[in-house]
């Protein structure tokens, strides 16, 4: 059964690039443009990986991560932040919200695949 990933970013282009990279690994992907949409798209279904941008309208990435961690379905799944900043502060806030890791934009697709391989069965 194919693994499923949720890609959240307000740029359609970015979502496609991430999902192309992820689909190459055999994932099927769900997409959303912001945190609110992401929750709607998920609709409580099980998922194997979440990759989310931080800066989005409606509900931003950190809020989304916090929200996901509060639900038992998503308490333990790997969540990657897609961020343009690599400063520690951002990483710390992410960790505090419950993120598993991060990858910086622009991202190297092979690097992303490598990271994912370590986080998802």
């Amino acid at each position: 059964m194919a693994r499923k990933a949720l890609i959240v970013d307000d740029s359609v282009c970015m979502r496609r690039m991430v999902s192309d990279t992820v689909e190459q690994m055999g994932f099927t992907t769900l997409q959303a443009g912001n945190g609110q949409q992401a929750l709607e798209v998920l609709a409580d279904q099980p998922i194997d990986l979440v990759i989310t941008d931080l800066n989005m309208p409606e509900m931003d990435g950190l809020q989304l991560i916090r929200c996901l961690r509060e639900q038992s379905t998503y308490q333990y799944i790997p969540i990657l932040m897609l961020t343009t900043e690599s400063q520690d502060a951002v990483k710390q806030r992410g960790r505090a919200a419950g993120a598993t890791g991060w990858i910086v934009k622009p991202f190297n697709p092979e690097r992303l695949q490598q990271l994912i391989a370590r986080l998802v069965r």
Partner: protein, 987 residues
């Protein structure tokens, strides 16, 4: 000999074509079934065979290319790499290139342009295989890893096992011990806490940085120590080991071994000696965390293990003594190692050992631990390549939308500079453009977007007020970005160099100036509005510190990569397989034995047999005429039967299964459905159905076109399907079967079906039908075959231009077949093509005109009748017509069109044969109906020349020649000569 080589070449190309077909079929099947070792093996063998042949014939380029292809296949079949859709994509592309290379080699043409790039990709796709274990690899090093995750590590989404698994991939795990001492009783176990820790010995050629990278995210949630493993020297206080070494010195003195040999063996012994830390974990005396502490302290103080362990209170002396004892016991003795290395015989060793136990020996210096290999520099940064102009186009559209939004919001801000929502919106727009443009390595755009974003950020934070100069700068940024997007669009239309904007540096500078809050000394030209806080430093650090130096990208974290200029290659042309020249059919099952036959010989054979059949029927006729039923031959019926059998057999020689065409269609569906993002299940039935080779060749293009249509327009996008209650995955079935002496090919989809109303509207618009005319569903659907007809709202590059379906129908009818459409709105569409089994033999209707006999293809004939006077009319501009069941059908006088005399002028005394072609009906006026017969068609083009209206000729049983009429040509002639002009005479 030159001749021999050429013959082998041809055979090789034939065989290679078969292997290529196998390759493709296998890869497509592999995509469905996933990992299948038998399939992989057969695919590998196919590639391997091609390589062998090519290399034998000196086709070096082909051999090289195939070698790379084979290499990747090998890694897949041995499990070094998994089978992924990306790999299958690459392999299919490589197969296509290989087909192109072979075709080019055959005709001494040019190889496909994408060859080099695909070859590169094949090579890069190979993973480095696990490093050879052994002293030959100098970079191999053994590391000790201690990994103790915190209890709450799961709550961050980590799965420690995955990290350990990755370790196993980057090297060889020599030993792995799990610390279980923290595991509580089962009834106290809390499921989401991590209780385990690990101590691992890993042999790898990767540098420490790569190992540490594996744990990059989890570092803060665990205790982690990665160190190169030094060989465990013997504990100095251990008396047993001293004895051993003195024994070694003794042996040197005895001249039995050299000092070098002793050093080697002692080093070996160190390698095999277990470390105290490992033993401590195994014995449960220490936890991983404690060991981490000890090792840290050892690194800091340089003190040995036992000192630190006891000093930190983790071990008492008794435990330590036990550990050391264990260590000694588990270390192979010197003597054994010498014997194993062949330096001493066992007998000798035992003897010497016995003698030794009485002699004191001087100390020898300890060998130094092996020098640690230098850590390799971190793996080279990877290059991001944009392969996808389509994606770039999307980005342009998206960017343009963002920039439009920026304009709107900036106008709002002109009147209300502190409007939070507008500021946020503009900020986000620049931010997004920055992010995505960086993925395409558009450094100019990214830099500009970054500075603009920064300005907006300052405005958001209230550090700067977005007015006057700042506002101008914001507008200017949006404008420049728009220009840059325009350049991109130009580039997409005509690739070349991307021009840079001369205004950019100045704008960047301006942005930087306006983004910094005014300093108290007024170094920035004063803006009338005071900035927020004058006590702030003159140049604030923007949040993304590392990105404010666009000229020299610094990689702060291991995750950031260094992009270089992209190569944006033109889209590869997907070469549609050309019709194969092989004379023999390829088998689906591979069970049949194949014999290769020269094509022209085969044609000649079939021809001669055809003539034999004709001659035989002539004999029968003469016989009947002469003997008038008075004598019944026994031999003639026998001859008849044999002739008919021969005829059938010879025709079957030219029969080819549809498999090749179907496979092409499968490939098209797959590529197209992936390209436009519609998941489709494509099913083939009846691939073994056979047709005359020329029919199959001619059917290829029309079928592919129809399949393309089905994917592009028939099947709805997945979201639409879901909303309609259909499964997201579309279903297309292509099936072929024999029935009633014909072959049927059906293309069925479960898509949105044909919209009758839309077709009617379009037809009315184009003046094809009049508003209010009543047409059956079938007639409406047939309208899509009109040239230039397309109800597609969007003409994609794939289809929708409306040039396809009319050609499809014409091709089908040229093959003396017809095509039928059934469709239900919202449910799907089915196209059914009916074809005669062979072209050579045709069912015909013979009609008489004057003294001559003409044959009409039975498939085109609807009916024949003698009209009543009341049904005949003359219509201005259309000539004579007859009303058939309410339908107005033009009459074509065959005698006039062909320029031959007829016996009957009055339609009511003659016969009207209603024929249908391309949806249009005509009534042909002939003298009489002679009968139905099977006709062996002889080509006119080959023997005489192409004549419009005639598709061939045949020899009747009485030896006369009858022309076989082509209805399409006839009707065109008829329309051309309505005034009565005559066609050139036929003799």
């Amino acid at each position: 000999m030159q001749l021999d080589l050429n013959r082998y070449r041809e055979a090789f190309f034939e065989e290679a074509a078969d292997h290529l077909s196998e390759l493709e079929a296998g890869l497509l099947r592999l995509e469905e079934t996933g990992q299948d070792s038998e399939l992989l093996n057969s695919i590998f063998r196919a590639a391997h065979s091609i390589k062998g042949g090519a290399s034998t014939l000196g086709l070096e380029d082909i051999a090289n290319f195939t070698h790379a292809l084979e290499g990747l296949l090998d890694q897949l079949r041995t499990g070094v790499q998994p089978v992924t859709p990306g790999r299958i994509d690459l392999l299919l592309r490589a197969r296509d290139i290989l087909a192109g290379l072979l075709a080019a080699a055959r005709v001494q043409g040019a190889p496909p342009p994408a060859t080099g790039s695909v070859l590169d990709q094949l090579r890069k796709a190979r993973v480095d295989e696990a490093p050879a274990v052994g002293p030959s690899n100098p970079n191999l090093c053994v590391y000790t890893l201690l990994f103790a995750p915190n209890a709450e590590v799961f709550a961050h989404g980590f799965e420690p096992m995955l990290l350990l698994r990755e370790l196993a991939h980057v090297g060889e795990i020599l030993e792995s011990v799990a610390e279980t001492c923290h595991l509580p009783d089962l009834n106290e176990l809390v499921g989401d806490r991590c209780y385990l820790a690990w101590s691992i010995l890993l042999r790898t050629d990767r540098p420490i940085a790569a190992l540490e990278d594996i744990f990059v995210f989890v570092r803060d949630d665990c205790r982690l120590l990665i160190q190169p493993l030094s060989f465990a020297p013997p504990e100095p206080s251990c008396s047993v080991s001293e004895v051993r070494r003195r024994f070694g010195a003794y042996l040197i003195q005895r001249g039995l071994i050299t000092a070098d040999e002793l050093t080697d063996v002692l080093q070996q012994q160190d390698r095999y000696r277990p470390h105290l830390e490992q033993l401590a974990i195994r014995e449960g005396m220490l936890t991983v965390r404690q060991i981490c502490d000890i090792l840290d302290a050892m690194a800091g103080s340089g003190a040995p293990f036992r000192t630190v362990a006891t000093r930190l209170g983790y071990l008492n002396h008794k435990q330590l003594a036990l550990l050391i004892q264990l260590q000694t016991k588990q270390t192979p003795p010197l003597g054994e190692l010498l014997v194993a290395a062949g330096k001493l015989s066992r007998a000798q060793m035992e003897r010497e050992l016995a003698i030794f136990h009485g002699d004191p020996v001087p100390e020898i210096s300890e060998p130094e631990p092996a020098a640690q290999p230098e850590a390799e520099s971190a793996s080279a940064c990877q290059v991001f390549q944009c392969e996808n102009p389509e994606l770039l186009g999307e980005f342009c559209t998206e960017a343009e939308e963002h920039l439009e939004a920026v304009d709107r919001q900036l106008l709002i801000l002109e009147n209300d500079p502190t409007n939070k929502e507008a500021l946020n919106a503009v900020y986000r727009a620049f931010h997004t453009i920055k992010g995505v443009s960086s993925m395409f390595d558009l450094t100019d755009m990214r830099t500009l977007a970054h500075e603009a974003e920064n300005l907006l950020n300052q405005a958001r934070d209230g550090v700067v007020l977005l007015r006057d100069r700042a506002m101008d700068a914001a507008f200017a940024s949006a404008d420049l970005l728009k220009r840059q997007v325009g350049h991109l669009r130009d580039w997409l239309a005509k690739p070349g160099a991307l021009p840079s904007d001369p205004d950019l540096p100045q704008l960047l500078n301006e942005l930087r100036i306006v983004a910094s809050p005014p300093a108290p000394d007024g170094s920035k030209p004063a803006s009338p509005i005071p900035a927020a806080d004058e006590s702030k430093p003159a140049s604030p650090i923007p949040p993304a510190a590392d990105e404010s130096k666009p000229a020299s990208p610094t990689p702060p974290a291991a995750d950031e990569s260094k992009p270089t200029s992209p190569t944006l290659p033109a889209e590869e042309e997907q070469s549609e397989g050309k019709a194969r020249k092989a004379a023999t059919p390829t088998t689906a099952t591979g069970d049949r034995e194949i014999v290769r036959v020269d094509r022209s010989r085969l044609d000649k054979l079939i021809n001669t047999i055809g003539e034999l059949v004709i001659a035989q029927s002539m004999v029968q006729q003469e016989f009947d005429e002469q003997l008038n039923g008075h004598f019944h031959s026994r031999a003639l019926p026998e001859l008849n039967k044999i002739a008919r059998d021969l005829q059938e057999l010879s025709l079957s020689l030219r029969m080819v299964p549809l498999q090749g065409t179907f496979q092409k269609a499968a490939r098209v569906v797959r590529d197209l459905s992936r390209k436009i993002g519609k998941p489709i299940h494509f099913e083939l039935q009846g691939e073994d159905t056979e047709l005359d080779k020329t029919v199959v060749d001619q059917l290829g293009d029309p079928l592919i076109h129809m399949v393309r249509n089905a994917v592009d327009h028939g099947i709805e996008p997945p979201q639409v399907r879901l909303q309609a209650g259909k499964p997201a995955q579309g279903r297309i079935t292509l099936r072929a079967y024999h029935q009633g002496g014909n072959v049927y090919i059906e293309l069925e989809d479960d898509g949105k079906g044909l919209d009758r109303q839309a077709i009617v509207n379009k037809a009315i618009e184009r003046g094809l039908i009049s508003d209010g005319s009543k047409l059956s569903d079938g007639e409406v659907f047939n309208l899509i075959f009109e040239p230039g007809f397309s109800t597609a709202k969007v003409v994609t590059e794939v289809s929708g231009r409306g040039v396809g379906m009319d050609v499809v129908r014409r091709n089908v009818e040229a093959l003396q077949g017809n095509i039928l459409i059934r469709s239900q709105l919202g449910k799907g569409t089915t196209f059914t093509i009916r074809l005669p089994l062979t072209l050579a033999i045709m069912d015909g209707l013979s009609v008489g005109l004057g003294d001559e006999v003409y044959i009409l293809p039975l498939l085109s004939v609807v009916e024949s009748f003698r009209p009543r006077r009341s049904e005949l009319h003359r219509v201005a501009g259309r000539g004579e017509v007859v009303i058939v069941r309410g339908e107005v059908v033009p009459i074509v006088r065959l005698s006039r069109v062909l320029g031959r005399p007829a016996r009957v002028e009055d339609p009511c005394a003659g016969l009207l044969v209603l024929v249908e072609n391309q949806g249009k009906k005509h009534a042909l006026l002939v003298d009489e109906l002679l009968g139905q017969l099977q006709v062996v068609m002889k080509s006119l083009d080959v023997n005489y020349r192409k004549v419009e209206g005639i598709s061939g000729a045949t020899i009747l049983g009485d030896g006369r020649v009858a022309m076989v009429l082509d209805v399409y040509g006839l009707t065109r002639l008829a329309e051309g000569c309505r005034g009565g002009a005559l066609v050139g005479s036929l003799t």
